[in-house]
Assembly symmetry: C2
Homo-oligomer: 153 residues x 2
DNA sequence: CCTAATCTTTACGTTCACGTCAAGTTCACA
DNA sequence: TGTGAACTTGACGTGAACGTAAAGATTAGG
């Protein structure tokens, strides 16, 4: 058992895989954007799993796409963090339906918050895009006019 | 002639109208994001027109939506600036068709550059939105299952 | 015409999001 | 078992995007 999927990644590996730097990872951890310390065996070096890499990529992606501060992002991701816990708890079969429902409703709320932010921005971008397309259309039309009647009127 | 549309706005008014501060306006001017000095009568105070306010709003909007640095934005807006000049020149009737065509092609290029940026981001956001919607769907389905058979299996 | 509000430039201060360096520790591997 | 690469914390540095304070000029209104 040595070539399974649960490689123990070190912070430098994670950084490269996520396209960032160790410093940034520590900084995010310090801010609470990433769980305090995934796994810290004897030595004190941080060890990560592939799952953590995904999480980091997602954080970076959201940061870029939503253009929010890391603090705001942290609030948004209390969501993500909770959802991870929710998934873990839900994956066990022995959860009472009442509790299960509770967890699902919580997850739903978190998703709704993210969706709201995403849709607002997506809407604004769509509007901007439409405006640009319209402007482009006008320019193209004037160009056609120009080519159509090169020496008239 | 005193109540026409060309009110002379001072920097403080412009700032309020655009939802920002005088400092930011001066800073943008310093960076070259806004024309060097719209109009500077004897006193030395900056005077703006409603058109300048629109321009500023647009700058702010693009900055927020595209999430680029002010330097990158400046490059993108060399476009805008040129387009303003283009519009001015095109509005005169006495421009040679050849020159006219040249200006229009230039404008077209600028718009294309902006569109590319906008569409890339819009696409990424749309993808993120789709993922969130899918996740929400799964959560809702599990909730329905839970409600559907409260005590079976 | 006088004065308070607003403007001017200059310059230093601040927050965010990391970069970078130092001094020591731990890991991987020949 | 040694040694170089990678990691640790701590601290200070940095660029971007402004905020803020100072000292003086200008403008607007009564």
């Amino acid at each position: 058992m040595s070539a399974a999927g649960n490689e123990a990644l070190r912070i430098g590996d994670v950084a490269k895989l996520a396209g960032t730097t160790p410093r940034t990872i520590r900084y995010y951890e310090e801010l609470g954007l990433l769980p305090q310390a995934p796994e810290r065996p004897s030595g004190g070096h941080r060890l990560y799993s592939a799952e953590e890499v995904e999480r980091l990529r997602e954080v970076i992606r959201l940061k870029e796409l939503l253009g929010v501060s890391l603090q705001e992002l942290k609030d948004l991701l209390a969501a993500e963090e909770a959802r991870a816990a929710v998934r873990a708890e839900l994956s066990r079969e022995d959860v009472a339906p009442e509790r299960r429902r509770e967890l699902l409703l919580e997850a739903q709320g978190h998703i709704a918050r993210q969706l709201e932010l995403v849709e607002r921005r997506a809407g604004e971008l769509a509007k901007l895009r439409a405006e640009l397309l319209q402007t482009r259309g006008r320019v193209q039309e004037r160009l056609r006019e120009l080519e159509g009647e090169p020496a008239s009127v």
